[in-house]
């Protein structure tokens, strides 16, 4: 089932501008990040989390940023409803989130179910004082749950049969976002 058409919705330049804008928005609310932790949602959210961390460090000379990954496989509500078995990834949070302001980071916000699972998973690690959500791409009008992102890279209108794919330099050679139509 090869996709018949693909369209770039965020090219390399716009991609990096978007990341920098997100960093600027974060700095407005989080000051020097002493009370803040960035947590990437596995598997694809971790790249955005790492990129945000790098840019925050180079743009604003922030030294210590707490960053971790969270895997939500065991918390999903579609386990056993999906044909495919979900293979878990690593969770790596080596700091206490108790009383911290946590920024959950994912690449695409679609139905909101992953974020629902991530919130459950996160609360098993402690009680953050606040949880915010950052998504590089927000597929609006497709939510199954009342969840919205606080920081959005780009809003996209896409229908169910379309797929949004975020590609990263680290794994796919180039930073870009494409819309696949099947």
């Amino acid at each position: 089932m090869a996709p018949s058409r693909s369209r770039v919705i965020l090219n390399k330049q716009k991609f990096s501008l978007t990341i920098d804008r997100l960093c600027n928005q974060l700095i407005e609310n989080h000051d020097n990040f002493s009370e803040t932790a960035i947590i990437g949602v596995q598997p694809r959210g971790i790249f955005l989390a790492q990129r945000i961390e790098q840019r925050l460090k180079s743009l604003f000379k922030i030294k210590d940023i707490k960053i971790g990954n969270i895997d939500v496989s065991f918390y999903r509500d579609d386990f056993r409803r999906n044909d495919k078995i979900i293979t878990p990834s690593d969770t790596n949070i080596d700091f206490s989130i108790e009383g911290q302001r946590v920024i959950l980071v994912d690449d695409v916000l679609y139905t909101g179910r992953t974020i629902r699972a991530a919130l459950d998973a996160l609360l098993d690690f402690g009680r953050p004082s606040k949880v915010e959500l950052m998504a590089l791409i927000d597929r609006r009008f497709s939510r199954h749950l009342p969840i919205e992102a606080d920081y959005v890279g780009k809003t996209v209108d896409a229908i169910v049969s379309e797929r949004v794919k975020v590609e990263w330099q680290e794994t796919d050679k180039e930073d870009k976002v494409i819309l696949l139509t099947t």
């Binding site: 065991f74 918390y75 386990f79 878990p88 969770t91 690690f125």
Partner: protein, 313 residues
Amino acid sequence: MSGLSTKHLLGIKYITADDINLIFKTADNFKDVLNRPIKKVPSLRDVTIANVFFENSTRTKISFELAEKRLSADVVNFSASSSSVNKGETLIDTVNNILAMKVDMVVMRHPSPGAPVFLSKHIDANIVNAGDGTHEHPTQALLDAYSIRERVGDLKGKKVLIIGDILHSRVALSNIFCLQKLGAKVMVCGPPTLIPKYINTLDVKVEYNLKKALEWCDVVNILRIQLERQTDEGIPIKYFPSLREYAMFYGVTKELLQSLKKDILVLHPGPMNRGVEISSDVADSDQAIILDQVENGVAVRMAVLYLLAGKLD
């Protein structure tokens, strides 16, 4: 990766090396969960599991029950001593009655070899073998291999020695299959009377001299002498003159381990008979990973149950 190749865990013989590696990878994640303040995930909250034990067990039963509870499954326990089995009910009837109460998975221990395989052909639920007579004990083999892998890395080419009552041990058979599927070399050691006649069909080395066997291996798994199985229709059979003599010839002691030129890893599936197959100073030494095995048991069983639950209809 796409899940396990099977919907039951009846024995290591019936699963592939990929299955074993998938179970290990998933167990790594569950081990991580078990070290958190909240040691529980909601994955199996809509699954009901029956632990059906027709034979005594402490550690396996507790380990399975903990694994199930930490996956948020609903658990019912059943043990033969307090059941209708004593009133003449057949195995299929007993299990079907349990399944009629909407149970999704059955974890079963049974004294008859092959009981889980038989059951899997007649009932419609996922079955996990928690030990069937002298046949297999797959989750024990998985957690043994997992614990070895955690200490020494990839098992490929590693030499593993199994000492003791190979004839009556389901742990030995499952371990042999599991280690071989992962590429390890296996040797068994014990009195000739306790080495099964057809061991040569399994492609394992046999050594009757404990010192020589220990010199060969990197890892040793010491098994208990199963006096309760050394019977013929209830009449005890002597496979060796006395426990004292067994301990002298096949008991692993500190002096023996120190006489080797290397440190080998010591495993024991429990329950231990200190002073018989293993001396106290070995059991409590740093080389022994007996308590790691127990700890890993919960994570490995969580992985097995989680992956099999993904196969539920």
